[in-house]
Symmetry: C3
Subunit: 287 residues, 3 copies
């Protein structure tokens, strides 16, 4: 029986990135849908769960994506509402790659640090990748500062994470210029830069002078990079006594997680792979 | 040579139901098109019939679907007009599942009754499934009452069937409340309820008291069901001296017909599988 | 590793013709996109080139099509701009079949004539097929007259070709009626009629009386054909001392070129198959 993957994408043209990874990870046939809205989800999912016997439903699965992560998250919620009892299929959400990217960043950090004893700083912490990285770090036991140019936005993101996790959330900080970034880096061992493409968040001198910093991870691949002096291809390169990752250096781990998640979808019919589950899966891959 | 199925769907997002069944029934590759309009049909069909040698055209086929059955029927007509001589491929139409559902319902009835000697009543007879069920029953030799809440609509549907078949059509009846339903059931051996989802057409007591009723088939799977007291999962369950089918109880037969029809498409290049042909195919499956 | 073909089509419904040929020529999986605009190209192409190792990128390729040849050409340009260094895949453009049709017509002519010593006339020379046929003939060393009903349009097309090739372009001629067509045919050995569907460009008597004409090729398959008296199915049929091809007679060569071009896409990852490259490939097939 062929492995079918229903791709629900919020963008007009469904992502080819997600489709290629799926085909290379065990999907035999793709049903690719673009411009998907929540009201269309029920019919599309019913078509999947009513056409194969429950014992065969692990050969059908759903991938939710799209460049708008919030819209993709809404699609995922609509998908989950459609399931009932054994009438369900496994589903993965990775809008804009936010889940696999955040998971990969935290996993890279965890290779060099005991996260439970780590003070982390997430720059660009209010974006979809930043929020997810902060959430994963909190759950992994780290102390987290979530930084944004706007303290107000940082506070809201931290509250949301605290509510979601029913745990103490990250500490909001404003980091709008070199001085405030320098202050935010005080006592920080793990830095994850999840800011917008093409924006330098940390000048080289400030990173070099960050006394406690052990691991610096930049997730912006579009020059200028987010951490000045960290090349996007660098992967666990030691410089200035710090272990540095560029966006493409993290990319191999991200891709491995993405592939493994797709493969996992076809092993049982009741998985929901969102940020946390994708991170868990990534830690398993670390061995 | 791969079996290609061109799926032409009237809905914006092409049906995943139809696609999964096709993949599981011998289609190797699907070309799935949503929001298809009649003016687009010629180009899409030409692309199919001008790319393979006539002797290989049985490996290319067309499936027409969509939730709007009338629109799907128009697409089918447009498809047929595009064919000429040996330059054609087999095509199946099953908009909203109306053809396979109507065929399955009549076949279920025929398992227990000699249709040629049967008085049937089709409730919701003006809808796409009801009209098709009535038409198939007439052709199978049954006497048919076609019921609608509106006598006027019932009359029009009956006239249309008579014109289509060039035979005496069903008898129109109004059935808008328990009293009129009770009257319509007088002398009826086969009841098919093809009404709207979530609407109870026949109260339990009226069905139980229908003296002549031998087989009761409900095609509404969404609670409340159309025939009160007939569970949607029931399949040929005897209750109150009547053999009862719920919508999902008919579903297995419907799915078997659908699968067989897709398989048939790839055996020759000149089939047109609409209601009658799909019903014929279904009777062959009964053995 | 599966051969993936990304189909970028300018039409709302992506061409089934192009998809069938691709599947029959080595594409294992198609990602079919309709209504593609230039601003969407980068994301779609990035998804292809960032998901497989550079050494495997020959298993991913792009086909650009659509009934609007100019729009398809713009998509091709957008695709090429997205590539950088080894991060690229092979791409073929054949909007409205213009490239394969023009190549096939010139190749058919070259079977019977030494193109370097040939005076050719292209009727309908300002359309996408006509322009390409004229360009290919010029490059093959022929002398070319490019005819249009409007001399002004013919002149512009000739100038464009001269600029594109940085060579002397075709000679523009007006051919709006039998008399002017007769004049344009003086001294012509190869006639290619690339006019609009259903328009007769050359009355039979004028073709028969063309003293120097050796090969007449009609690319209009929709009756009335472009060259009166040349049946669309004819392939190298001698009549009146001239070798004649109808549109379908050229079609076998066109299809062979199209198939070979798709196969070629999956042999390396740095091909750009536009008119010239497709013609070269076609001449290789001639052996």
């Amino acid at each position: 029986m062929k492995n079918l993957l229903l791709q629900l994408d919020t963008d007009t043209q469904p992502s080819t990135f997600d489709s290629v990874v799926a085909i290379d990870s065990g999907a035999d046939v793709m049903f690719r849908h673009g411009g998907v809205t929540t009201d269309q989800v029920e019919g599309l999912v019913h078509g999947l769960i009513f056409t194969r016997a429950p014992s065969k439903l692990k050969h059908s699965a759903i991938y939710v994506g799209g460049s708008n992560v919030d819209a993709a998250e809404e699609l995922l919620n609509a998908v989950k509402k459609t399931f009932f009892g054994p009438m369900r299929v496994s589903v993965m959400m990775d809008g804009n790659g936010a889940n696999t990217t955040a998971a990969a960043a935290v996993i890279c950090g965890g290779r060099h640090l005991d996260l439970k004893a780590t003070q982390a700083l997430v720059l660009g912490g209010t974006g979809p990748v930043g929020q997810r990285a902060a959430r994963l770090l909190i759950r992994a036991g780290a102390s987290v500062r979530l930084a944004s140019r706007s303290l107000d936005k940082a506070q809201k993101a931290c509250q949301q994470i605290a509510e979601d996790l029913q745990m103490e959330g990250p500490q909001p900080v404003a980091a709008s210029d070199p001085t405030s970034v320098e202050a935010a880096l005080q006592g920080v061992q793990l830095l994850i830069a999840a800011g917008a493409a093409g924006v330098t968040l940390v000048p080289q001198a400030i990173r070099q002078n960050a006394q406690d910093l052990k691991v610096a991870i930049d997730l912006n691949a579009v020059p200028p990079v987010g951490l000045e002096g960290v090349d996007s291809f660098e992967k666990a390169v030691e410089k200035d006594g710090q272990i540095c990752y560029g966006a493409i250096g993290v990319g191999g781990t991200k891709m491995a997680i993405h592939r493994a998640a797709i493969e996992r979808l076809f092993q049982q019919n009741d998985l929901v792979l969102n940020a946390e589950e994708i991170y868990e899966l990534g830690t398993e891959l670390e061995g």
